[in-house]
């Protein structure tokens, strides 16, 4: 299958998933109504359907697309940077920092979505910066991995300490935060985060040459003209600014950044000119489907999306390992 038609197939599947996700849910909107709304033809939507579709479902599906694409592309970038197919954005301290920020906000402050999100974002930026500084001391890329691992361990134990002083309501809040959800999506969030995440996505996808070169090893990437210091900095900053705010508003969503680039590489190889757009599309597709399941399995209640991605991602990853092909 040619590259463009493979991208086309992913786009088609994504469109189908979006249509399905928009129509299906606790308040069903039929496909015919959806089609009427899209083409602005009669009979149109009744007031409730319009409200549900426009104010609840559409921002949520858009957030799912952006989030899935961002996680997929960030995961592929990390795997190239560390030359390790097990790398993902959490390796540089993003998730641990976001968790610490969120937990601190939930337990130590009056809380509320905005405060928690800001604290989580600040936490993710600070821990990524700390990992980067620590990694710079040892000068090598494995130093950065070790710094990330050490920092993750330290931050999660700090999280544990704060949890000790949490009451039951707070415990419940932070448990659900860490399992992730797209439920808080609204238009102000999309307008605020959308451009930032799109810019980050476009930047990372455009770096396909340096990501390919990094696969040959850092020394060879240098011989091909890429400056290591600024490349590393650029990639880490971009991932932190794209995924950090995302984690802040959705909580913890795992496995997408790890598994999607693998699947994509297994399908048509490791050339990043293919892998980057395909990781974005397949990440968006995966998360849209996961959110659809999250909303519909026990409707009208919801399963946290991070739980779905782990429940499906975990066994799927084991299956990949058993098949003997890890990219």
């Amino acid at each position: 299958m040619k590259q463009n038609s493979a991208h086309g197939l992913l786009l088609l599947l994504l469109s189908l998933a979006v249509a399905g996700s928009l129509s299906h849910g606790a308040y069903p909107i039929s496909m015919r109504q959806l089609y009427a709304w899209v083409t602005s033809s009669p009979p149109g939507l009744d007031a409730i359907s319009h409200n549900v579709l426009f104010n609840i479902r559409l921002p949520r599906v858009l957030l799912g697309i952006l989030a899935g694409a961002a996680l997929g592309v960030a995961g592929a970038s990390m795997q190239a940077l560390f030359r390790n197919p097990l790398a993902e954005p959490g390796l540089i301290g993003l998730s641990a920092g976001a968790s610490l920020g969120a937990v601190a906000a939930i337990v130590l402050t009056p809380g509320g979505f905005f405060i928690i999100a800001c604290a989580a974002f600040a936490g993710s930026l600070m821990s990524t910066y700390a990992a980067y500084l620590l990694g710079r001391i040892s000068q090598s890329i494995s130093g950065l991995i070790l710094a990330g691992v050490a920092l993750n361990a330290m931050l999660f134990s700090l999280v544990g300490l704060i949890i000790l002083s949490a009451d039951d309501a707070q415990l419940r809040d932070l448990t659900f935060w860490s399992m992730g959800s797209l439920a808080a999506a609204n238009w102000p969030m999309i307008f605020l985060l959308g451009p930032l995440m799109l810019a980050g996505l476009i930047y990372l996808v455009s770096r396909w040459r340096v990501l390919n070169a990094l696969l040959l090893g850092e020394r060879e990437a240098q011989h091909l003209g890429f400056s290591l210091g600024s490349t590393r900095r650029g990639l880490i900053i971009c991932v932190a600014l794209t995924v950090g705010p995302l984690l802040a508003v959705t909580g913890g969503i795992g496995f997408v950044g790890l598994v999607m680039p693998h699947i994509v590489r297994m399908w048509r190889g490791a050339d990043h000119r293919w892998v980057m757009p395909a990781s974005a599309l397949s990440g968006a597709l995966g998360l849209t489907l996961a959110d659809w399941l999250a909303r519909c399995i026990i409707a009208p209640a919801e399963i946290p999306i991070g739980l779905i991605t782990s429940l499906i991602g975990g066994p799927f990853f084991i299956w990949l390992l058993l098949k003997g092909r890890t990219g």
Partner: protein, 265 residues
């Protein structure tokens, strides 16, 4: 034609040890210079210094009169190509993917030019039959030839833009069988002359160097103890000084212009 690359008085220290001591070298376009020496003599460090990877503590390294220390990696990548000993590629790229990377320093190159260079490199390195395979499926020697093809693409791109270029190779024939060893050296030789490339090769095979290099530099303990045409500097006493091994040098029975070196154990 003036030398492409000049090194004068180059010194480099690592952990308080002097690894390079007063190294002087010229790379001329169209000529192959072999660098020989025992393990630990400083050959790879010299190559790293010339490739701009490590800053020298003393002395000057210039290309076309410009100090390398003042050039960005991007500028250097458009003037020279480097092939190190090993390539730790563990991801599943195809052979054309790897070879096409040689043109990354030249994002402005047209698809037609790139296709021509890739085709020429595939033929030069005898890897045409491998072009539909994935890099990880190949043997060590085949992978080495694919990396060489990548470097040839880069060097041809450099030569097409700057008129000349230089190529640094660290034991490029180490993993190759005898037929491919000579084929590669022959290709490098013709490439050097045709595209005006100055080539520096670190080698362990003294006879391969004696046959194909225009100049040889013998290194010992961080300095160059002798440099010149192979026939002039390959003699038993110099080789003993370099390798601490008794050798005998005699005229090559099949190639009147060159010498043959045998170990005398």
């Amino acid at each position: 034609m003036p030398p492409v690359l000049t090194a004068r008085g180059v010194c480099f220290y690592r952990d308080n040890q002097q690894v390079l001591s007063n190294v002087a070298l010229d790379l001329h376009p169209g000529k192959i210079t072999g660098v020989l020496g025992a393990n630990g003599a400083g050959k790879s460090t010299l190559l790293s210094a010339i490739a701009g990877e490590i800053p020298v503590n003393k002395g000057s390294l210039k290309i076309d009169g410009q100090p390398i220390a003042r050039m960005t990696m991007q500028t250097q990548s458009r003037l020279r190509a480097v092939l190190p000993q090993k390539s730790p590629l563990t991801f599943n790229l195809t052979v054309p993917d790897v070879i096409a990377m040689g043109a990354y320093p030249f994002p402005e190159v047209t698809p037609v030019e790139l296709a021509q260079w890739i085709k020429a490199a595939l033929e030069d390195c005898d890897v045409v039959s491998l072009q539909n395979k994935r890099y990880l499926e190949l043997s060590g020697g085949e992978q080495q030839r694919v990396q060489l093809a990548r470097v040839l693409v880069q060097i041809r791109a450099c030569a097409s833009r700057a008129g000349h270029a230089y190529l640094l190779l660290d034991e490029p024939t180490a993993a190759l069988d005898p037929k491919h060893q000579h084929a590669v050296m022959q290709k490098l030789s013709s490439c050097a002359r045709k595209d005006h490339i100055g080539i520096l090769i670190i080698m362990h095979d003294i006879n391969l160097a004696a046959q194909w290099c225009d100049r040889i530099a013998l290194m010992k303990a961080g300095s160059i103890v002798a440099e010149g045409h192979p026939n002039d500097i390959l003699n038993a006493s110099r080789l003993y000084e370099t390798y601490s091994l008794s050798m005998r040098v005699m005229p090559h029975p099949l190639n009147q212009d060159r010498m043959l070196v045998l170990t005398d154990t």
